[in-house]
Symmetry: C2
Subunit: 416 residues, 2 copies
């Protein structure tokens, strides 16, 4: 008898779907294809020498750091790394206790653990549309449903938020800085409004900030976490705040180390750590000790300047290419930082239909549908500018311009 495995799975597997990006990455492994589909940092900015030196120090100290880096460790993370993060730039003003900071196996694990501790089957999560598909993938497994709020060049639109909050979502999920996928930044005015409305309705906010350190121009805006702390201080409230803040070493050090962190009220972190024990016991000790040894003397803050310079130039090249090669019907965002920008075709066009034509022309993007929980956004797509060098970006955008020009022409032809 052949065993029918497909009859054995849990119900929740129906909600889980393969990440379109990761499937696309397989197609785009062909080295002839210029891929703007991934979200990979540029390997040219990996700090090989600093990591080599740190690791050599660690592994030679067999009785101390070496043993710690190869041994089981605490589920909440390597204490020196948690302490270091407490005085890391996004958090210097927060006066955090170490209990407010835990380490996760990448930000993706933080999203999964948040789903595990908060989401009951059928709970609704309030998200921007479009939003980060990895969050949808994590939460679909817990039976989440979604209330979507459209966004524009200033991020999540506030006029629909109050009405949506009245319907009682479990939490609000927002990527305020150089959002994935759109690249747009939530304005200060909207951040303040968001924090006030969330407090008014008693709905917590999950602030996902993987790119906040990668600003190329303009002033840093206060985080939603910061604004919420200020609100609660003003009100003299006794709670620890209403915001759970996520970030990651993936874009400022190395994604292959799989290191993220959560800043949250101590009681929320306790629940997350409980879930983390069952999920993977703890995050790789070796990765945590390396990150601490590389970062403890301020190297990461200096290194970020290099990353900003490289990505800023690549963004400029992509924006210039879009200006030069795109038909006039095509629109795109102009991010002030991060890794991505967002392209919008005329409303009746479908970026999934055009995808095979792009592949035939050896250029790739991610169709926007995957970032929309309700499957809309068919005329949109995400482009990554961090991975390819400027020459490749220009060549790739010129190919894409040709593909869209042709697609728009054919469409016009069909209309007549």
């Amino acid at each position: 008898v052949s065993i029918p495995w497909n009859n054995r799975y849990a119900q929740r597997i129906e909600g889980m779907s393969c990440s379109a990006i990761r499937e696309l990455l397989k197609i785009t492994e062909n080295p002839k294809i210029i891929s703007f589909a991934g979200g990979l940092p540029a390997p040219e900015v990996f700090p090989f020498r600093e990591i080599e030196q740190a690791f050599s120090r660690i592994i030679k100290a067999e009785k101390t750091l070496g043993a710690v880096s190869l041994q089981y460790g605490p589920s909440d993370g390597y204490l020196p790394l948690r302490q270091m993060l407490g005085s890391y730039p996004p958090h210097t003003s927060h006066n955090l206790a170490v209990e407010n900071i835990i380490i996760t196996s990448g930000s993706q694990q933080a999203l999964d653990l948040l789903g595990k501790i908060f989401i009951n089957q059928g709970d609704r999560i309030l998200v921007e549309s479009p939003t980060y598909m990895g969050a949808l993938q994590a939460w679909n497994a817990y039976g989440a449903e979604y209330i979507t709020i459209p966004s524009d060049q200033d991020g999540m639109q506030m006029d629909q938020l109050e009405c949506a909050l009245r319907s009682g979502p479990k939490f609000i999920y927002v990527l305020p800085n150089f959002q994935n996928p759109t690249g747009v930044t939530l304005s200060l005015e909207r951040r303040i409004k968001l924090v006030e409305l969330a407090d008014k309705f008693g709905i917590p906010i999950v602030e996902d900030d993987p790119y906040g350190q990668l600003r190329f121009e303009g002033e840093d805006l206060p985080s939603i976490y910061t604004l919420d702390q200020q609100l609660h201080t003003r009100k003299g409230s006794s709670g620890q705040g209403n915001v759970i803040y996520l970030s990651t070493f993936s874009k400022i050090l190395s994604p292959g180390m799989r290191l993220g962190w959560v800043v949250a009220p101590a009681e929320v972190n306790q629940a997350l750590v409980l879930a983390k024990q069952g999920a993977d016991l703890h995050t790789s000790s070796i990765a945590q000790v390396i990150a601490y040894e590389v970062g403890k003397d301020g190297f990461i803050e200096r290194h970020i300047q290099l990353i900003r310079d490289v990505y800023s130039k690549r963004r400029d090249t992509m924006l210039e290419g879009l200006d030069k090669y795109m038909p006039k019907e095509v629109q795109w965002t102009k991010p002030h930082g991060g890794l991505f920008l967002w392209v919008t075709l005329p409303e009746d066009m479908n970026s999934e239909d055009i995808f095979p034509v792009a592949i035939a022309n050896e250029v790739a993007y991610v169709p926007g549908k995957a970032f929309h929980p309700h499957g809309d956004g068919l005329n949109t797509m995400r482009l990554n500018f961090s991975y390819s060098n400027p020459e490749t970006i220009e060549l790739g955008i010129s190919r894409l311009g040709k593909v869209f020009l042709e697609a728009i022409k054919n469409r016009t032809y069909r209309v007549f």
Copy 2:
């Protein structure tokens, strides 16, 4: 207003409880306490030099291995590592395709992902009693319930199994080699019976084998995976078998790297990878590339001999200490490998009640209740012999002997 976080959690958080071991480890961090409570490998057997050399090679190859080790990687794992595992000793006879092997963030993650893809609220899992508490912790979060089968010195008892299988458990979970917590090994006769009954009732088996390579004496027994493959070959069935096999690098290389693997039918691995994408995208690239570079020329097989020698001596010391110091009322298992043995006090005694006395006498163990899904086993405990050196083991067992002698005397006193 103070935000009431405790009203916001998902229902499943009620089933999640803190690992007793990890809480105990905190108490036992006091260096004066001799702790047999943890499950830590001996840092003396970490291969520092080989890891240092491998990492140096990796990170210097900036364009190839170095970039791979710091970059995002595939969710199913680093391909050369998966290929290496296909010809690794437990699997040499299996003729595995690479699709049958995926990498997880430690075996603990494999347990969590199995829960995610298989367990609906209220599903019953058939386990040995006692069993590995980390599995219970992972599956409680998905609403699992448990059917327990008692075990003796030959592992899970078969006489109750058929009746239990009739009640339709979702799967059978078994640790056949040097079981955690008891240290006992499932006999060949029972393995064959288990595979046949599971096939007869169409219930899959999850075989958890973290210690199988660490045999100190006697002959290796065929894995349950192997016996199932043989059964299906004999029957000429077209399926890919009925067993999901888990193992880990934690006990043969380093637990701090958080590397485990799953051997399963390709379709099960596809479901696990889908769940893994949402859980942490992929396992640390840096850890995977190091494990491959350290292991590719057969170093791990040679290294295991050293680990066996060290642990075997420590087990001997612990068994001699138990013979020498324990009151006659106390019984224990005599494992042929692994990291643990299991101590049984007279039935009316409670190892949790005695625990504070042991701590006062500067020695620690894990009370057995935590390994019993239904909270029985009050008179039992787990002792670890891998972490402490022989002198410390003898001293610790002499302290424990004194504690139990006193406890048994007091109990006798109360009885009269």
